[in-house]
Amino acid sequence: MKKMIDFEILSNEKLNDQNHLLKITPLNHEKLPQIYPGQFVEIYVPNSKSTFLRRPISINFVDESQNTLWLLIQNVGNGTAALCASKIGQKLNIIFPLGNSFTLPDNQNKRTLLVGGGVGIAPMLFLGKVLKNNGFVPEFLLGGRSASDVLQIDEFEKFGKTNITTEDGSLGEKGFVTHHSVLAKQHYDKIYACGPKPMMVAISNYAYVQNIECEVSLENMMACGFGACLCCVEKTIRGNVCVCTEGPVFNIKELTWID
């Protein structure tokens, strides 16, 4: 069941020039509902004059013990800038949990690789935790332009081996995520990916060729986030479907990306 409730900002940590991590909890202390990895929230941005619609943001992590959600926000425009500038104690009105979720492999022997590029790492942290809690051994592959773009490495390491690539080679291997040596050395049964579209297309092509199960999380532009406007559609083999309700997670077999 979707809800619209006020959260309070407990902390706002600047991770680098562009990215902030907000930790938020329901203002009235109600317990968070069941949330699945890959789901997202829609945030009303109170302090930005030019932001009319809510902004969709992935759920980066659910800390059940603290009853908090973590949101990783990249400042790319007025709405996200206002969120990054928000203050501890401020109220945020949020609609959540939205969207489908990543699906877990059918047995625990399956090896999983979680690939995140830039702020697209956001949903991978919670997915890693859920995989680990369910007896899987998640492994991560994080990419960025340079070292400072690769976020939350410490957090990821709590849940599995964390491989890193940067385009300039300033951290981990140099190059794109699809060129990382783990892909050559290790066989994975399922790959999860979120990040810039070119990265996801590259991963999808790789997985397709290797015949590996692959799920990607899309970030199409949204007006509502809960299936009412039909603005966020992705062309699939079933026709145009809403990313906000039938996604954001899609099995690459459903998409029309692979040439």
């Binding site: 069941m1 979707k2 809800k3 619209m4 009303y44 030019s50 932001t51 009319f52 619609l53 809510r54 609609i95 199409n220 532009m221 949204m222 007006a223 509502c224 986030g225 809960f226 299936g227 009412a228 406007c229 039909l230 603005c231 966020c232 559609v233 992705e234 062309k235 026709g239 145009n240």
Partner: protein, 301 residues
């Protein structure tokens, strides 16, 4: 609660707060957020005779206090509506109204013929004003002659309440309103979206796949309000007002301008509970101003 009752032709609404087509899905998208039974009416997504895939992505651009959309009437067609959606929603205690869209007069008529058989659909809203598909109806909405023709044809096929939804993209909206009234429309609703455009300066490309799209949201409110006021002073049939309503004050303004009922569109995306807040706000306005019935306010400027 009787003081909130309004009538649109033979159709009785328990209150004037309706939702606008294309912004409220089939109602159920909002069932987690509000009690749908409290609404005066729900106008479901534009329905065409045959299924449509709509336009390509991107279909949306945010604008100052509003948005452009180019959805293009994506829907599964009248038969799918009747077989699968109608059974799911027909038991809500509110008026479910189907927004009927088409490319030819024949499309409209055949779609209306199918819908007239549905017991719990007391009215249709004829969308002659969608700017987002070639031959998507807007051409009917911008000429009094074409608007009259399609209204006439549907009128003879549809015996229940017929609402005709007008396009604001015209020099004189009263002319169109008069034309559809003359052909037997029971009500006019206005406004549909304004034809607009967004450009990505960095990419030097239009933002929408269709180049132009329909503008909605608070930004259009002053123009919509003016049109409702003009149409109210032109026709005798009830007017349903919409265009940028985002709070109870806006709703009261549209009623004062001459709306017998109002529809809330885009703002449902920002606050899916807004219709309930508007309803509560109207009630306390009536209390505060000691008004016995909302009907006293309609057009009472």
């Amino acid at each position: 609660m009787d003081r909130l009752k309004v009538k649109i032709g033979n159709l009785e609404l328990k209150n004037p707060v309706m939702t606008a087509s294309g912004t409220f899905g089939y109602g159920k998208e909002y069932a987690d957020f509000i009690d749908l039974n409290r609404l005066g009416g729900i106008v479901v997504k534009g329905t065409t005779l045959e299924a449509r895939q709509g336009n390509d992505y991107p279909r949306m651009a945010e604008t100052p206090s509003g948005m452009l959309n180019a959805v293009g009437l994506q829907n599964k067609g009248a038969d799918y509506f009747i077989d699968h959606l109608y059974p799911e929603i027909c038991d809500y205690d509110t008026n479910i109204i189907v927004n009927v869209s088409g490319s030819t007069i024949d499309d409209y008529v055949r779609c209306a013929e199918k819908l007239v058989a549905l017991d719990k659909i007391p009215a249709i809203e004829l969308n002659i004003s969608c700017p987002n598909v070639k031959e998507g109806g807007m051409s009917f909405g911008i000429s009094p002659k074409a608007a009259a023709e399609v209204t006439k044809a549907v009128r003879s096929a549809y015996t229940k309440t017929l609402i005709v939804k007008l396009s604001p993209n015209v020099t004189d909206i009263t002319e169109i309103a008069r034309a559809v009234e003359a052909e037997g429309a029971d009500s006019v609703s206005l406004v549909n979206t304004f034809l607009g455009m967004a450009i990505d300066a960095e990419k030097r490309k239009p933002v929408l796949s269709t180049i132009t799209g329909g503008l909605s949201g608070p930004c259009i409110k002053p123009i919509a309000l003016r049109m409702v006021w003009q149409v109210f002073h032109t026709v005798k049939i009830p007017v349903i007002g919409m265009g940028g309503i985002s709070n109870w004050k806006d709703a009261i303004e549209f009623i004062l301008a001459g709306s017998s009922a109002i529809q809330v569109g885009t703002y449902n995306f920002v606050d899916p509970t807004i219709t309930m807040k508007i309803l509560d706000g109207i009630e306390s306005y009536l209390d505060r101003h000691h008004i016995q019935s909302i009907n006293e306010l309609i057009g009472n400027l």
